[in-house]
């Protein structure tokens, strides 16, 4: 009597297409039409090509620091596939595949990593947010975006992505807590890729799963094989449904792996074993997906060669577009500070080539273009 049970809860794990190529027909059949399966796979090939090229751009000094996406692409892509085009995707920096699927033009990401804010100028009608550099902070924006949709009676939802490391930040907690307590239509997709730079997940969370973070908020939570695009689609679709119909949030732990370094500024060999990487190489989401498509005769090596060629061409064109954009003007840094530039900022802008900012407004002609981006 005096010791009673006040909570009894379980967490499920969803896997449909596992690393051995086993496909669970009951859950997976009909989940993604065949055409779409092919399109998704092709998209993955393009994104992998993009990732490789971006890496090389950095190595050859044509771009700044870049975080490779390699190995994690199925997570954001599966989620994006299950969203509506007008749902918000509120991402971190390792979700290229999902963002491109969701409508973000591919040159934007390159431009941002090339040190140009114009990469973040999300086009009208694309529902995503700029790269989030401060870890763990963007989930609150997702909660606010979802709240706005609810307030307006729209049935748009928000799906936010973040890493295992991000779940250690206080803002993650506040975002999850606001979403649960205010009944907001948000999906939290935690991309547990085993590492936060050099720090293994167990230092971020010593519990057996990250999924159980959601229990703290009374939130529905689930663990998913994040390298299994079918499982990602299924979990996200369920969560989207819950968000849209019941205005309730969901926490999805997507178990995946960062096959590359943290960013081009990192050298992962300093802190992790090659064995671990090799084991995860075999779990690459593209390998099992391709095999699955081949088993179903939706794919063959000719198609693979074709898409590879197309990917190369497409990505080359994207790089060209990104590099051809005219260098920004020094004065651009002022132009979006406020809707209307306050007088003192106008003076600073117009005198920026003089030392005495604020004292000589006559030198506006001096604001020359940057020659060396």
């Amino acid at each position: 009597m005096p010791i009673t049970t006040v909570l009894d809860t379980k967490i499920r794990r969803i896997s449909i297409l596992n690393e051995h190529g086993d496909f669970d027909a009951e859950l997976g059949e009909g989940l993604i039409p065949d055409d779409d399966q092919v399109r998704l796979y092709e998209h993955l090939v393009v994104c992998r090509q993009y990732d490789e090229v971006a890496f090389k751009l950095q190595r050859s000094g044509r771009m700044g620091t870049y975080p490779q996406n390699k190995g994690q692409e199925a997570t954001s892509l599966g989620a994006a596939y299950a969203l509506r085009r007008d749902d918000w995707m509120v991402t971190c920096y390792r979700e290229n595949a999902g963002l491109f699927w969701h409508g973000l033009p591919m040159e934007h990401i390159l431009l941002s990593w090339m040190g140009d804010e114009r990469g973040n100028r999300i086009p009208e009608g694309v529902y995503c947010t700029p790269l989030a550099v401060p870890i763990g902070t963007q989930m609150l924006h997702a909660a606010g975006l979802a709240w706005a949709a609810k307030y307006r009676g729209e049935d748009r939802i928000a799906c936010t992505f973040f890493g295992d490391g991000a779940t250690s930040e206080g803002d993650f907690h506040e975002a999850a807590n606001f979403s649960a307590n205010l009944d907001l239509p948000v999906i939290f997709v935690c991309q547990n890729n085993s590492w936060a730079i050099s720090v293994p997940t167990k230092i971020q969370c010593s519990a057996p799963t990250l999924a159980q973070r959601g229990i703290a908020y009374g939130m529905e939570c689930v663990q998913v094989d994040g390298n299994d695009i079918f499982a990602m689609v299924k979990a996200t679709a369920e969560a989207a449904d819950r968000a849209r119909r019941e205005s309730r949030p969901t926490f999805i732990e997507a178990v995946t792996y960062r096959l590359g370094d943290h960013t081009t500024a990192d050298d992962a060999r300093r802190y992790r074993d090659q064995d671990e990487v090799d084991a995860w190489m075999k779990r690459d989401p593209m390998i099992r997906f391709r095999r699955h498509l081949e088993d179903r005769r939706l794919w063959d090596s000719q198609k693979q060669a074709d898409i590879q060629k197309r990917a190369e061409k497409e990505v080359a064109a994207v790089v060209k577009r990104a590099e051809e954009i005219a260098a920004p003007h020094a004065r651009d840094m002022f132009d979006h500070m406020f809707a209307e530039l306050p007088e003192e900022l106008r003076v600073q802008r117009d005198t920026m080539r003089t030392s005495s900012i604020g004292q000589d407004p006559a030198q506006i002609e001096d604001a020359v273009e940057v020659t060396n981006p």
């Binding site: 804010e117 902070t137 307030y151």
Partner: protein, 322 residues
């Protein structure tokens, strides 16, 4: 016209703007049924419903972070932080996101948010309920900062802040929330952001202040026999330098008064700019009468810390005598 306290003027401005614009949502701790710990939002939840006046979880970063999301979606959130001392947990969302979103996204996302925050000392409150962090946010590009010193200005400036397309921190000097009443028009009107107010004209000394210490300055002027031009800044950022410069060119002598600590306070910036722009007109060093470079003490000593009228008076005499 009604004769209103500062609290009432703010409440009225909120109600009228909410009536006119249903994109406005208020959120914060205890702002609903309780009407906020200072009763600034009294009656608003009843009138506009719990969807528009939202009691949030106790989490300042959450309050500002979700407000940023609301604003990105085109709404006009008005978050309240219960005391300025509790802006700390929200510092990152304010400075790393709200202030940066427009420029980061080259205008694709904007943050039309007004953060309301009671500010300053003098009410015998506990620790972290009496600080003056305005210079911190003035040093953060991308924010506008406002601090009224009267009911009239409070209403007019708040309406400007709410309608402003960019993030504004609206500091409410709690010491004068109910200290006096003033005639305030019933209808909506705006006091422009970025324009100072000449409270009293004079040609001997320029006295510059903002918020609750404007009242202390007026007391000091009353006790003084000198001709003092009192400028109430009203907006902390952007600073109305033309108003200051034209006064200093007339007087050549300046005293700046604020509650915040001296080092790197807004007084330093104003003094530096005056020296830059009025160098040949200055007849005496600029005096700053401020809180000390100490932690704002617990309330037994708060009046020793705050720049009261006698300290201001001494400064006026010293500057005049130089």
């Amino acid at each position: 016209m009604s004769n209103l306290t500062l609290v009432q003027a703010i409440n009225l401005a909120l109600a009228q703007e909410m009536e006119a614009d249903d994109r406005i949502i208020l959120l914060g701790e205890d702002i609903g049924l309780n009407g906020g710990v200072f009763r600034v939002t009294e009656g608003l939840q009843k009138r506009f419903g719990p969807e528009r006046v939202v009691d949030s979880p106790l989490a300042e970063s959450g309050i500002i972070g979700t407000s940023i999301g609301l604003a990105m979606a085109g709404l006009r959130p008005i978050p309240e932080i219960q005391f300025e001392g509790f802006m700390g947990p929200a510092y990152d969302q304010i400075c790393s996101h709200a202030a940066r979103m427009r420029t980061r996204s080259r205008g694709a996302f904007t943050i039309p948010m007004t953060i309301r925050v009671p500010v300053g000392g003098g009410i015998h409150a506990p620790e972290l309920h009496s600080d003056s962090p305005e210079a911190i946010y003035a040093h953060t590009p991308g924010l506008k900062i406002v601090m009224p010193s009267s009911p009239y200005d409070a209403k007019g400036l708040l309406i400007s802040a709410i309608r402003d397309p960019d993030p504004v921190i609206f500091f409410e000097p709690k010491r004068i929330y109910r200290a006096f009443r003033e005639e305030v028009p019933e209808d909506e009107f705006t006091v422009p952001i970025g324009k100072a107010r000449v409270v009293t004209e004079g040609d001997e000394i320029t006295l510059i202040s903002w918020g609750a210490t404007v009242v202390q300055c007026m007391n000091a002027i009353e006790k003084s026999h000198r001709s003092i031009e009192l400028i109430d800044l009203r907006t902390i950022y952007p600073i109305d330098m033309p108003a200051i410069v034209s006064s200093v060119k007339k007087t050549g002598r300046v005293v700046i008064v604020h509650e915040a600590s001296k080092t790197c306070g807004l007084g330093a910036e104003i003094a530096a700019r005056i020296t830059e722009q009025c160098f040949l007109h200055l007849e005496a060093p600029i005096q700053r009468v401020t809180g000390y470079d100490t932690i704002m003490p617990y309330y037994k000593l708060e009046l020793e810390y705050l720049p009261e009228s006698n300290r201001i008076g001494t400064a006026l005499e010293e500057v005049a005598a130089y």
